[in-house]
Symmetry: C2
């Protein structure tokens, strides 16, 4: 276990390779999680892995996951560990050799046993965190969940405890290698993810303007 | 099994929910795979799921995966199934209620038993497919792998057979519901991923210009 107030280090989250890129600092974990809203959830179903993309929300030291997959695995295998990965890709790293090509990214891996959220207050808080993660401002703008909708929604919580962060950044590694003599261009090609322009529902009546919390996101970068 | 020349339908890839969004058509599968280069690979390690982001390449009806994770799972559990997910997020779907909020996406799920590529010709072909997937043109521009580098690289192949595609597109569903009377704005907020401007390695000597196959990608959209 980490003794520095950081994240717990287990056999699964010990950083094996590229150690210089690894981190068990809570602030790095939260920075990566804050930059996204989609994770890839891994569960074991009938002995085989299943990887499902799904939205998440963060509140304090918990990550909330929505939908049926995590809760299905929870029902089928109570106490079973799941794995959550959140990755943002920042650039292609274009080196002087194929072998040194890579990708700059920030990636979080979380292991834990999901807990089904049954307390009504926590369920509302968790769903709000989930909604705010991708669409901040919408929870207070639109109609909030009815009792029936809440009952139809399953939510699970995972503690941000057994987790690790990997960050790869910077130029290619071969600038001082013999390959530098080849005279080839090398560097990075950044990848940028942005919100575009709002597109109204075709059946929206004339005269209903989008609220400021939506218009101000147009053109904004994600992932940071 | 699909009888229409499409992908094989098993218990795992049968589309359970949101059926209208599902597809087992090969062209849909290839369209989604062609729009990306990063997948999330799920394997089972010591009974727990592990989800790892990794690059992929497609050649014909094979997907090639790079690196050590797939081959580690292959060595630890020969014959074990892995799961590969490739997802592109296209928009936030902003409805009139929290409950109807969703995400527009295109997602591919592939199951299979990885095969370690040992034939030298196939290994070169697979690595080239992998390189071209993210950085087309670089394989022929930079130094190709040496014998030693090839030996240090592991590559696995998965058949694109047991696979499914899910595509979610369009405006929110509640335009004709009682919530439409609330007079709220509703629609979609697109998410666009683009290549930015090339940034040269800081140690690159003056006078080496980037080749056309790189400069022409600047500003280009990914994921389509």
């Amino acid at each position: 276990m980490g003794g520095d107030g950081g994240l717990s280090v287990t056999e699964r989250t010990r950083l094996r390779r590229g150690k210089e890129k690894g981190s068990h600092r809570r602030e790095d974990l939260h920075a990566v999680l804050a930059g996204g809203f989609l994770c890839h959830l891994g569960v074991v179903v009938d002995g085989a892995p299943m990887v499902v993309p799904t939205v998440y929300g963060v509140e304090g030291e918990l990550i909330y996951l929505h939908g049926s997959v995590a809760s299905r695995s929870l029902v089928q295998a109570p106490g079973a560990v799941v794995c959550v990965n959140v990755t943002q890709v920042d650039a292609l790293v274009l080196a002087r050799s194929v072998f040194e090509h890579s990708v700059n990214y920030r990636s979080v891996m979380i292991y834990g046993v999901p807990r089904l959220v049954t307390d009504p207050d926590e369920k509302l808080r968790g769903l709000r965190a989930l909604s705010e993660q991708s669409a901040p401002g919408q929870w207070d703008y639109v109609r909030q969940p009815s009792r029936k909708e809440l009952a139809a929604t399953s939510l699970v919580a995972l503690e941000l405890t057994e987790a690790s962060v990997k960050i790869s950044a910077g130029p290619p590694d071969d600038g001082e290698s013999p390959d530098a003599e080849l005279g080839l261009w090398a560097g990075v090609l950044p990848i940028e993810t942005r919100f575009g322009q709002l597109a109204a529902d075709p059946v929206l009546p004339d005269g209903i303007e989008p609220p400021a919390h939506l218009t101000e996101r147009q053109g904004q970068a994600l992932g940071r």
